[in-house]
Point group: C2
Chain length 757, copies 2
Amino acid sequence: MSNNVIGSKLITRVDSFNKVTGNAYFSADIKLPGMLCGKILMSPHPHALILNIDTSKAEKLPGVKAVITSLDTPQKNYGIFPSTRDQYPIALDKVRFVGEPVAAVAAVDLDTAEEALRLIHVEYKVLPAVFDPAEALRDGAPLVHDNTERNKCMDYKVVYGDMDAGFAKADLIREDTFTTEALAHGQLEPYVAVANFQPVGKLEVWVPNQSPFAKRTALARTLQMTSSDIRLHPIEIGGAFGGLSEMGSAEFCAALLSKKAGRPVKLSYSREQTMIAIRQKHPMEITVKTGMTKDGFITAKDLRILADGGAYHSTSGIALTNPFIMYLALYRIPNVSYEAARVYTNKGPRGAMRGHGNQQLRFADGAQLDWMAEELGLDPLEIRLKNAVQTGDTLLNGSKVHSCGFSECLEKVRERSGWEEKKQAPPKALRGIGVGAGIHICGFDLGIRSKSGAIIKFNEDGKVHILTGSIDNGQGNKTMHAQIAAETLGLPVEDFSLICGDTDITPSDPGTYTMSTAYISGNAVLRAAQDARNQLLAIAAKKLKVDANELEISNRRIFVREKPEQNIGIKEVLIAGLVAGTQVIGCGEWRPTNVTPVDWMNGKIDGQPTGAYSYGAVVAEVEVDPVTYKVKVLAVTAAHDCGYAINPKAVEGQFEGSVSFGIGQALSEELIWKDGRVLNAGFLDYKLCLAGEMPPVESIIIESQDPAGPFGAKEAGMTVSIAAVEAVANAVHNALQVKFDSLPITPWKIQQKIAKG
Amino acid sequence: MSNNVIGSKLITRVDSFNKVTGNAYFSADIKLPGMLCGKILMSPHPHALILNIDTSKAEKLPGVKAVITSLDTPQKNYGIFPSTRDQYPIALDKVRFVGEPVAAVAAVDLDTAEEALRLIHVEYKVLPAVFDPAEALRDGAPLVHDNTERNKCMDYKVVYGDMDAGFAKADLIREDTFTTEALAHGQLEPYVAVANFQPVGKLEVWVPNQSPFAKRTALARTLQMTSSDIRLHPIEIGGAFGGLSEMGSAEFCAALLSKKAGRPVKLSYSREQTMIAIRQKHPMEITVKTGMTKDGFITAKDLRILADGGAYHSTSGIALTNPFIMYLALYRIPNVSYEAARVYTNKGPRGAMRGHGNQQLRFADGAQLDWMAEELGLDPLEIRLKNAVQTGDTLLNGSKVHSCGFSECLEKVRERSGWEEKKQAPPKALRGIGVGAGIHICGFDLGIRSKSGAIIKFNEDGKVHILTGSIDNGQGNKTMHAQIAAETLGLPVEDFSLICGDTDITPSDPGTYTMSTAYISGNAVLRAAQDARNQLLAIAAKKLKVDANELEISNRRIFVREKPEQNIGIKEVLIAGLVAGTQVIGCGEWRPTNVTPVDWMNGKIDGQPTGAYSYGAVVAEVEVDPVTYKVKVLAVTAAHDCGYAINPKAVEGQFEGSVSFGIGQALSEELIWKDGRVLNAGFLDYKLCLAGEMPPVESIIIESQDPAGPFGAKEAGMTVSIAAVEAVANAVHNALQVKFDSLPITPWKIQQKIAKG
C-alpha cells in the first residue's frame, strides 16, 4: 500500500518557509555571549618564504584579544588521505598561493580586527613561482613543494583491454586536446565559522559543511584533540557544491583564537577571500584519442588528463580517479586506457566541485564524439545510444551496473527536444543544437564513514523527530528524509521535524559529497522508520488483539488490513506505549553492501567502487549573437535517471540548478589570473549564469528503480549538471561549425575563432 | 566486576569546570539575531477587575515591536491537572494577586520596554481582598474565584484504622497547632525565558525548567499548538528547588511576543518579580493530635492541615497528599487520620518547593513529639526509633517499603553527634540539641510522563554521548548518569558528554521533581548502557572468537574473563563495527513497575504510590545569643539513606545544601506581607541561610540498597533538608525550654516568647 507521500508533487519542502522569511540561521547569524570578531591575514605572494612575523603591534592594539600565527598551532598538516597531508591551516615557513593564511586575529569588532591585520608585519622572501602545469613539469621549474619530482603531485596509468587491437578495429581515429579553467563554487553564502572553545576542553563549531563528521575528524587531528570533544552544530548552508567537504582554515583559526582569547569567535571571509582561499575546481588539460567504426561503435579510448592541482594535494587522487570510474560506466568500450597526472602550481588548491573531474572529461570526450560523428556522417545522439551501458552490464573493472536508464534518457531527450528535426546542419541564423551525456556514482567506500544512521523519535502528539547524521545543503535532503519516513509510517510530511548532522547527537553519516544522501542516508532513515513502524504495530496489535503482520498504517491510523473498520489512531497507540513505559524510538543504519574500497592514489578501481550509477542526457539549443558573440541558450531538454524521484519537484529543482551550472561552466565561468592573483574574485566579474540567462528547461525524470536505493532512488541532479556542459558546448559547435577545445566558450573566444576561421 | 566509577569520591563533576569559569550558558546568556527585550506588566493590586487596557501609547513608542494583553492570547487556562486549570498566563478580566501579569511588551532594549510598560494604562476596579486562609473560609469573605464555596480550593479526609480505639490506648494525648510561612525558592538565577517563534509555526524556547517535556505540554496547550512543534532547548539552570516545575508566564509571553513581533524575544524577570510572581512554598496551619503510650509508642495520629494556596490551584492536591503519603512510610502508627484543605487567598500562588508540604508537617509533628517526650521523660530520638518504619513493612495504604535505612540513620546520628551526653536538659548557656527525621518518595505515577529514556552513542574515538530527557538543576545528575554508564561500559567518566532534556532530541523523561532522577532516569541510562555494552561485546566476541558472555569490559578494553591476556581495545571494536556498517548506539528506558496512580485531588493513596522511599535523620546543635536572640547553629550531624551513593561527593554536597535550606527555613526565611504585597522581595531582606551561618556538617551516608534503584540508589539529599528543619527547631526548644509553634523561629519571636514567659 502506498501512502502517496513519496513521488508526490504536492509536498512542500520542510525548510522553505524559514528560508524565504529570513528565519533560517546561517553561521553568520550566530551570536554568543562575549563573541569576538575573527579575521585572517592572507599571503599577498604566490610563493614566498616567511622569514619573520611580528605581531607585537597588533597585540597592543586596544580591543585585540588574540593574535595567532603557526607558532600558536600544533603545526599538524591535513589532507584527505594520510599520504596527502601537505597543507597547514596557517602556513608554517612558506606560502604557496595568494590567499594562504599566515596569521589570524580576534578583536572586539571588525574594524579593530582589520586594523590589527594591518599592524602585523610579515617579512617574506619572495620566491619564483610557477602557475602553468606544463611549465611546472619542466626541469628546473620552481618547486612548490620540496621533494617532489618536477612538481608532480601524483600520476598513474590504467589500461583495460588491448589498446592496439582496439584502435586497429577502428575506421576513424581522432586525437584532440582540450582545456578547462579553474572555477569557483560560487556559494551565495560567504565562508563564516563560529567557534567556542570551552575551558573544559570542548570545542563547539558552527560552520557550513558537507560532512560534520569528516570535518570533526580533520579538526580534531589538526587541533590535536579527540574528535568527540568537538561538536559541529547544525546550521543552514548557503550552497556547498563540493567546496565545503574539507576542513578549512576558518574553523581551525576560529577555534584557536577562541581558545587563546577565552571567548567565542566568529571568523568571516569576505567574498574575495571566499573565492581565492577555499577550494576551486580543477583546471584540466584532457587529451582524448578515440577509435570508432564507421557505424559509430567506439573500439578504443585513450584518455590523458593533466590536472592543475594548485598549491596542495586536497582531493588529488579522487579528482583524477573519479571521472574514470564514471567513464567506464557510461559507454561500452572494450579497450580503454587512462593516464592521469596532477601537478602543483602556485595557485589556490583545487578540490571537489560538482562532478569532480567528470564534467571536464565529459566536455572533452563529448566534443570529440560530435566531431567524429560529423566526420562519419552519423547522428551524435545515435552514437551515444549505440555505445550506452545497460542495466546488468559488468564493466571493465568488474563493477556491476544494477540500474541504468541512460538509453532511455537519450531517447526521451531526442523525442521531446525535437532533435530529429532540429539537428540538420548547418543550422540557420547561428542557431545550434547539441547533446550531452551525464553519469555519476552514488557513494563510495569511506571506511568507518561509509555508513549512515538515523533515529526516529515519536512524541506523544503523534509527531516525529528524525535525527540523521546527514545534512541538507539546500538540495532538499531534509524533505527527502521526511518523505521516506512519512511513507513508511503512514503520516504526512508535516508531522516530521529534522535534526541533521549534529555530531554530538546524531548517528554518523558519510556526508553530502559523493551524491549519496538519498541512496545511503535515505536508506538509513528508511530502516529507522521500519523499526519504529514495527514498534507501533506491536503495540497496536495488542490493543486490536490481532497479529502485527495483519496491520497496515495509513493516514495517521493503523488498520487491520482485511477488516479496515477495526483500526486505532497512532496517537492512541503512542499513549498506550508511554503508559506502559515505552516510547517509540526507531533506529536504523545502512551502508551499501559489497562496495569495494578504491585505491584513489593509484587509480585502482577494480571491483565495485560504488553501489549505484545515475545517468542523464541533455539537449541544448543555442543562438549566437552575430554582433556580441554572446551565446544565448534558448532551450534545454534534460532527462535524468535518478532511480526513483522521491520528491519530483525537488528533482526538477535540481534539473534547473544543474542546467544553470552547466551553462555557466560552458559559456562564462572562469577564474582569471595574473601573476598568481585572481583578478575576478567577486560576483560582478566572475560570471555565473544569471536567472535572466536561464532557458526554459524541460525536465524528464527517468526511474530505473535501483534495487538497493530507498524506493529505488539514486542521486538527483548531478548528471544533468554534467551533461549540460557537454550539450551546450556541442550546441555552440553546431551553431557555428567551429571547434572549441577549451571552456568556457566566451564571446572573446568565439570572436577569435571566427576571426581566424 | 566493579570498574570503581560508581561510589568513588575521585569523580570530578562533568559540569563544574564550565560553571566555575563562567562558560556555562544560562537563558540570560542567549543571544539570537534580532532578539528583542521583553517585559511583563504586573498587577499592583491583590484583587481587582480589569475594566480596560489601553496599549495604544505603548505601541506608538519608537522601538516597541509588540504589545500583548490577554486578548492576544488563546485565553486557555492552565494547571497541573485537567480539573485544576484556573490560571491564565496573562490575566483575563480579573487579577488575583500582586504580580499577576496583565500585559507584556517586546522592544529593542530594556529602557524602551520599561518605558512602554509605563505607557500601558490599565483601568482597574479594585475589589476587597482576602489574605488570611481562616478569614477566607468565613462566610461573606471576598471570593478569589467565583463558584467556590468559601474560597475552598479543595479538601478531603482520609482515615486508616480506628481513631477512637487508638487514642483510647494512649497514656498521653496532646493536640497542638503550628503555622509556617510562605517561602521563596531563592534560586540565584532570576527567571528569564527566550522564545523564537518561527514563521513555519515552530517555537524554540530556552528557559530554566525541571521538566522540559511537561513544560512543553503545558505551553502547547496554552498556546494552542501541538507539543512537538515546541522545542525546549537545554540550558544551565541556576537552582530550581521545585519552583520551575510548572509553566510560567515568562515563556508564554516571550513566545507570543516573538510571534507577534516576528523576532526572538528574551523576557527577563527582575529579582523582585522572580520572588513575587512565580510559585511560593505553601504556608500551612497544621494541627497534630497524638496519642502515645508511656513508653513512647504512638497509638494514634490525627493530622489536620489548612494550606494557604494563594490565588491559584497550582500543585494543590499534591501539596496536601504528598506529606501524608510520606508520613505513612515514616512511623508505624496503627491509626491515622488526615484532614486537609487548601484555600484561595489574594496572594501569589503556591506550588512545589523542596519536600512539598513534607517539611512543614515534619516541623509540626516533630516539635510535638519532642514536647511529648519531655512530658513522658523519654528520649525524643528513642521515640523516633521505636516507631520507625522498617524494610519490608507494608504500610496502612498497602504500600511496600522495599528498602529503609531510617533506624540506621537515627542510630548513626545519635552515635556520631554525641547525643547521649549532650541531650541532658536543661542545657547550659542557651545551648540546645535537637533531632529531626526525614523521608521522601522517589517518583510517582505521571501517566505518559512516568518513563525515562536514554540513548548512548559511541563515537569512533571511544568517547560517548549520552542523550537523556532528564536535566541537571545543579544537583549533579549529569555526573551521576555518566558514572552509571561509565561503570557499565568500563570507561572513565571523562569519556562521556551529555545532552540533557532537549525535547526534539532526547527521549522523554518525568522531570527532576519527585526526586526521581537517579531512581528512574538513572535506570534508563543504565539500560541504555547495558544495550550498548551488549553491542560492544557482540563485535568483540567475533574479533576474539569467543562467546560474548565470556567477556567483560574494564579500563577501555574488553577482556576474555578467564584469559585476560586475550583482549581488545574498545576503540578497535568500534572501528570494526563502523567498517562493517554498525555504530554502537544503545537505547534504554525504565519506569518503576507496579506503581499505582495517586488520586491527588481526593487524597486517595492506596496501593503503591511510589517505588522507593528514602530516609534521613539530623541532629542539630544551636546556641541562642542572649542579647540579640539570634540562633546560631553550631553543628549538624546528618545521616541519609540514599539507597546507594553513586557519587558520594555529590551526595555530601546535597547534605550541605539541604542543611542550609533547613536552617534558613527553621530560623529566618519568610515572605513578609502587607495588604497582599511582599515587603521583602529581595535577597537583602529575604533571609536565606548565608555561607557564614553554615555550621560544620557531618555527613553520614547510609546505603540500604534499594532493589529497583540503579546500583541500589534512591534520591539524595531531600530527607536531610526535611529533617534539618525539625532538628533545628527542636534544638532551639531544647536550648530555651520554650515551645515555638510557628516557623521561622526568628529573634523577634524568641524575644516575644521570653518576654511573655
